[in-house]
């Protein structure tokens, strides 16, 4: 046994143990991308750099064996900077999107590509379920949303964007709302003031999290501006009523026709565990509620929506006047996270948002690559005119146009996880033109996107270990090196028995399993 000191704590490890393994044994996370448990160390990504306390030098911990008396530091400022820099260098060549641009552009960050894929396969109910995870009023928004998502759609720069908004409306109207199974009640009470899009959304997501919500509105009926400001032709009342009903059916206690005055507000603070203010633009709001204000409205923390009174959260037009209902709806979803965190005694931070790799605009020659998993069809317009919405055939046809810009490895990408953890800035080393994106789809179960590759060599080493006839290899060297199948054989030839293993081992989304 060998004794080493890691972050000033001694640990005994077997002879031959790498420093990384020794640290992991102590529960210290050493980031790594090129390491694979079935393989020898390779020393490529350099994320596992740690410091030799005695000489202050950094070394890759995956490849150095622990020796008697070694003293290691795993996470000082210099090491963090090293890892951040390594990640930023890798990100500068990693060309691809994590979340699709439409999802990032959507103020509610709805998982649009997944919605599209489900529609395309006729799974309308599942699709609605996906939509409702982020948007409480899809049928309503499907009629009034200016669709910032479509402005960001990659297809827009080379063709017409996917008609996302109408697709969402379609599932909102034609999909059956998911069976509501609210979480077990946690015994907390929250009052939501104002039953416009923001308040409704907040009430919905809070209730689903197991919080008893009381929703107050000065009007008898919920809906706020949606009910009063938008004419019937655009938003028929029955559509609005139906979606509000779904929300209220989750168990929200709706108290209509109740304008809350300041005294009531103060007593509510005592009666409820938290308050969500969503009463729409009223200039005297902040004074009325004795909260700090910005020139535009109530001042809140931009991530958590927590106001100067820690028990009060504010969303929607009380923050600043906006006609963008989807923003209010999104805030309603996000504030539910903050309130929950607050009620759990955590620091309210809002909905966790991960790091996103983004490559910018799609260009013409890349469009052909993206079309490998899409269709080269023009944008679909409802046969019966814009207001009528898609028929199911039209919806399927249009949904197929989605380019699947979102990464398959979105929840399983070490590069993304570490980039998030070390707050890497992908643009830091944007010093020259990016690579042109290609997609290799000729395989039954995996997809290979070479420009997402970070050259860790795990796939090359795994296919060698498992004696694939062709396998993967390095082609070229240096910055221009690419990983591919020798002799330009098809992906199908390169990855046979090892396909799934390789896809699972890829630390990014370069090689990933196709959706089932």
């Amino acid at each position: 046994m060998i004794t080493v000191k890691i972050n000033n704590t001694e640990i005994q490890v077997e002879e031959g143990t790498s420093v990384m393994k020794a640290a992991q044994k102590m529960g210290i996370d050493i980031p790594n991308l090129c390491w694979h448990d079935e393989l020898e160390h390779f020393t490529s990504c350099m994320l596992c750099l740690v410091k030799d306390k005695k000489n202050g030098k950094l070394f890759p911990s995956c490849s150095v064996k622990a020796t008697e008396g070694l003293e290691i530091i795993t996470d000082d400022a210099e090491i963090k900077e090293a890892r951040q820099t390594a990640l930023e260098l890798l990100l500068s060549e990693h060309t691809g999107d994590c979340e699709a641009p439409c999802q990032i552009a959507c103020p509610a960050h709805m998982n649009i590509p997944l919605m599209n894929r489900l529609i395309a396969t006729g799974k309308f109910d599942e699709s609605l379920e996906v939509v409702k995870q982020d948007i409480a009023l899809p049928a309503v928004l499907g009629r009034i949303c200016p669709a910032p998502c479509e402005g960001a759609c990659h297809r827009k720069t080379v063709d017409d964007p996917v008609s996302i908004c109408l697709l969402k409306r379609f599932v909102g109207e034609d999909g059956n709302s998911p069976q509501i199974i609210p979480a077990e009640q946690i015994g907390k009470k929250v009052a939501v003031l104002g039953a416009g899009p923001a308040g409704l959304a907040a009430a919905y997501y809070l209730q689903l999290k197991g919080i008893q919500v009381t929703l107050f509105d000065k009007n008898e009926k919920a809906g706020g501006l949606l009910r009063t400001e938008i004419n019937d032709e655009i938003l028929p009342k029955n559509i609005l009523d139906k979606e509000i009903e779904t929300i209220l059916n989750t168990g929200v206690d709706f108290q209509g026709g109740k304008e809350i005055n300041i005294t009531e507000f103060e007593s509510m603070k005592k009666d409820f565990d938290a308050l969500v203010l969503a009463t729409g633009t009223v200039s005297e709001n902040s004074e009325k509620y004795d909260l700090k204000a910005s020139p535009k409205g109530i001042l809140v923390d931009k991530d958590s929506y927590q106001a100067s009174d820690e028990k009060v959260f504010a969303i929607g037009n009380v923050l600043r006047s906006s006609r963008l209902a989807v923003r209010s709806v999104g805030q309603g979803k996000e504030v539910a996270f903050s309130v929950m965190q607050y009620l759990n005694g955590q620091e309210p931070k809002g909905e966790p948002r991960m790091f996103n790799s983004r490559f910018g605009k799609l260009v013409a020659n890349e469009f052909a690559e993206y079309l490998k998993e899409s269709v080269n069809e023009k944008r679909t317009f409802p046969e019966k005119g814009g207001r009528s919405g898609f028929s199911s055939e039209e919806a399927i046809e249009e949904a197929k146009r989605c380019l699947h810009c979102d990464c398959r490895a979105i929840d399983d990408c070490k590069l993304r996880t570490y980039s998030d953890k070390y707050q890497a800035d992908q643009k830091r080393f944007k010093t020259s033109e990016r690579r042109s994106i290609t997609k290799k789809m000729n395989h039954g179960s995996v997809v290979y996107e070479p420009q997402k590759c970070i050259k860790c060599g795990i796939c090359v080493r795994l296919t060698e270990k498992y004696t694939e006839k062709f396998g993967f290899t390095y082609i070229g060297r240096g910055f221009d090196v690419e990983i591919g199948v020798p002799f330009n054989e098809e992906l199908e030839q390169g990855l046979t028995a090892t396909a799934e293993k390789v896809a699972n081992a890829c630390p990014t989304g370069a090689i990933s399993m196709r959706e089932i």
Partner: protein, 780 residues
């Protein structure tokens, strides 16, 4: 398809069926097909245990290998350091125009010529250099590329008939020595040799014809030295074939003279060979005793290059006559391995490969390994684009290198070794191969060397073109038949090297100095040099110095002494600006620090390093940002791509430098560059990445103002083409010379009037400035 590959079957049979034979197999295939055809490679994968993945991985790693067919003839434009500072890029561009190559295409439409850049042809003193197949053209100017192609066309079919020499040894009147180092050969010494042989044979003269290795006077090549039995020897520099007859006749009286026909024939040949106005160099006569040459050699101490210019590289008897192999004999007959190691340790010699690890300690580490199998590797993978001493040592002193290897093998108790020689050094490979054969015949290799128990097998391993393979762990990966990926050290090769066995890796130059130490004693060696840097160091002196070439100087000599006393100062009366030492891993030391002594420590302190031994002198016309960019583009290109900081870090640094030299630099770029350089140094796995930022950091340290000027849109020396414009000043006499030279008709034909340059059309090829007789072209 399998029926058509009997040749490949045979080749595999010869080279072997396993991964370690991969590189030799690929080299043989390329020799046969001029590239690596895919069906042949697939066949190899089928017939051997080598996988498709290995084959493509290796074939695409080494720059020697081509996976696409190329033209009939290869036009190689040297872009080594010395060539770069003398305008190689412009020459390359001129060839692109001449061969009408569209962007991204390197082979002429007709398939006749393929153009490529090569990192160093090792003829730095002839810079800029272009090689077409086996013909080398030196001092190439951009407006000469057309003539070069014409010259090549007219010469390529010209197979020189082999001329037999008379074996009659009587009446020897003297000796004629012809330099046959690469510089000499490149400058045409082979033609001279043939000419001398022809003149001698036809005249019936009785003289020794002697081929000598590199004399080190590469700026004067080709060299012919006439040593009559009586009287002073005379050295002729820059000899042309047509001079040979005169030279020979002026020293020796021929018995019977040329017949008329023969004379005619000779003159015909002369006509062809002198029809080369690209040549433009004058032949002149100099004596060894004349000052410039004497001082060129005088300040130096030849140890690795002992008896330079006096011995025939392959004449083993002559090597023996001049003390060769006495050290080996002494060592294996009367010393124990420990005594040898002690002597080497006492001498203080440190690795000449650059890092300077004490040689004796390394030997001791390997000796201590109790393992039946141990390997020795002589690292001759010299990759610095501005250095060629390993090549010169291997070509000119093969026996000295072998002797050093044998002594090391004896001391560290090793029985097998490899001489790893860079692929681009065919002459070195040829000479060493021959030398190994002769050594075997003389019982200096193989079993029971010189009748003792000591036996040693030494093989040649030809590299395949990867700078990173100069790094020992990458070099070993390469011998093992893999991509040249370095691996982390420890374990060091002494403990676990080639195929996991203890391995001693030393540089060629280190081995070349060993026999001296053992023969003359460590004390004598130690007295040369200073402090912790003992002995001598060979440098390739090139760039803007008046006299370039290979020099061997005592450690501790100052930069100034090298440049002024050996190099003869700066050429063309320009001002000394800086010296780049150590190539891509080294740095620039500015003129104000010219007193810096050359030793391991002081160079490192200055931000340079001993490195490869390249010593490129820069004058006031050289742009330091361009120099930094040049070296970084080299290392970036040569990065193996394994670790993040080197693969991406060098690329991003280069991006920033590209932007700066193209006038796209912005505030903050310099700081970003500095930060990135720091991290690339700290975070890279091997020596290549760890030292790649040195040229950038050292120029930033001493010439930061030049970087700042570029950010502000000005290249102070007018080197960065995108930051400059060409114009005509009032000196213009309207001679139209520039008009005639301009390849893009950017200068209107206006005789006797002041010319003008259309900056829209101008491609900044510099032809006009070179052509102008009155300095009327301004570059701003």
């Amino acid at each position: 398809m399998t029926n058509n590959f009997q040749n490949i079957d045979q080749l595999i049979q010869e080279k072997g069926f396993t991964k370690k034979s991969l590189i030799p197999i690929l080299q043989a295939i390329q020799k046969e097909y001029n590239y690596l055809p895919e069906d042949v490679l697939r066949y190899v994968a089928e017939k051997t245990s080598i996988t498709a993945s290995d084959i493509i991985g290796v074939a695409s790693f080494y720059s020697q290998f081509r996976l696409q067919p190329v033209g009939e003839h290869m036009v190689k434009v040297c872009v080594g350091t010395a060539c770069h500072v003398k305008g190689a890029v412009q020459v390359y561009d001129a060839f692109r125009r001449e061969l009408k190559l569209p962007e991204g295409v390197n082979t002429e439409e007709s398939g006749k010529y393929t153009l490529e850049k090569v990192s160093c042809l090792g003829c730095c003193t002839l810079a800029p250099v272009v090689q077409i197949d086996n013909i080398t053209y030196g001092h190439v100017a951009t407006d000469q590329v057309g003539q070069i192609i014409t010259d090549f066309e007219s010469n390529k079919g010209n197979k020189n008939p082999k001329k037999a020499r008379k074996a009659d040894g009587s009446e020897i009147k003297g000796e004629i020595r012809i330099g046959l180092g690469s510089c000499c050969v490149a400058s045409g010494s082979e033609e001279i040799r043939e000419e001398v042989e022809s003149v001698v044979n036809e005249s019936g003269l009785r003289v020794h014809l002697k081929h000598v290795g590199c004399v080190g006077m590469c700026h004067q090549v080709p060299l012919v030295e006439v040593v009559p039995n009586e009287g002073e020897p005379t050295l002729y520099a820059k000899v042309k074939p047509e001079d040979v007859k005169n030279i020979v006749e002026s020293h020796f009286e021929a018995p019977g003279f040329f017949t008329k026909t023969k004379n005619k024939l000779l003159h015909l040949v002369e006509d062809i060979q002198t029809d080369r106005n690209w040549d433009g160099i004058e032949r002149y006569e100099i004596s060894m005793r004349e000052k410039p040459v004497a001082s060129f050699l005088g300040k130096q101490i030849p140890i690795a290059t002992e008896y330079r210019g006096m011995i025939n590289p392959l004449d083993i008897n002559e090597y023996k006559k001049r003390g060769g192999f006495t050290a080996l004999k002494k060592v294996i007959e009367s010393m124990s391995p420990d005594e040898v190691i002690r002597e080497v340790k006492d001498s203080g010699i440190r690795g000449r490969g650059g890092a300077g690890f004490p040689t004796g300690i390394k030997w001791e580490l390997v000796k201590k390994q109790k393992n039946d199998t141990k390997y020795l590797i002589c690292n001759g993978d010299e990759g610095d684009p501005g250095a060629f001493m390993d090549r010169m040592l291997l070509e000119s002193y093969p026996y000295r290198v072998i002797e050093g290897i044998l002594i090391a093998a004896f001391a560290a108790e090793i029985s097998h070794g490899y001489l790893y020689i860079r692929a681009e050094y065919p002459l070195a490979v040829k000479r060493i191969r021959e030398a190994l054969k002769i050594c075997k015949e003389n019982n200096l290799l193989g079993g029971n060397i010189l009748g003792t128990d000591f036996g040693f097998e030494l093989m040649i391993y030809e590299g395949a073109g990867a700078f990173v393979c100069g790094e020992e762990s990458a070099l070993m990966a390469s011998i093992e038949g893999k991509r040249g990926f370095p691996r982390i050290r420890p374990p060091f090769p002494a403990e676990s090297g080639l195929w996991g066995y203890p391995t001693l890796v030393n540089n060629t130059e280190t081995f070349a100095q060993i026999s001296y130490i053992l023969r003359e004693g460590s004390e004598k060696f130690k007295n040369i040099g200073e402090g912790k840097s003992t002995g001598t160091k060979v440098f390739a002196l090139a760039g803007k110095v008046a006299r370039g070439g290979l020099i061997e100087v005592p450690m501790g000599i100052s930069i100034k002494q090298v440049i002024e006393e050996i190099g003869g100062g700066i050429a063309n009366g320009r001002k000394f600006k800086a010296v780049q030492i150590g190539g891509p891993s080294g740095g620039c030391i500015p003129a104000e620090h010219a007193d810096t002594p050359i030793n391991y420590e002081s160079l490192s302190e200055m931000g340079a390093m001993m490195g490869s031994g390249g010593l490129v002198v820069l004058d006031d016309t050289d742009c330091m940002v361009d120099i930094a960019r040049y070296f970084l583009s080299f290392t970036q290109e040569e990065s193996c791509g394994k670790c993040t900081f080197c693969r991406v870090g060098t690329k991003r640094m280069l991006d920033i430098l590209d932007n700066i030299t193209k006038g796209k630099g912005k505030q903050g770029d310099i700081e970003d560059l500095e930060k990135l350089a720091e991290w690339t140094k700290k975070g890279s796995l091997c020596g290549l990445g760890k030292t790649a930022p040195n040229p950038v950091l050292s120029t930033l340290k001493y010439f930061r103002d030049e970087y700042e000027a570029h950010i502000n849109g000005v290249c102070p020396t007018g080197k960065c083409t995108e930051l400059i414009t060409y114009s005509v000043n009032d000196n213009c006499i309207g001679c139209t010379k520039c008009v005639q030279k301009c390849p893009v008709d950017a200068i209107p034909f206006t005789p006797h009037e002041k010319h003008s340059i259309d900056t829209e059309l101008c491609i900044k090829c510099d032809s006009c400035r070179a052509a102008c007789p009155v300095d009327a072209i301004d570059v701003k």
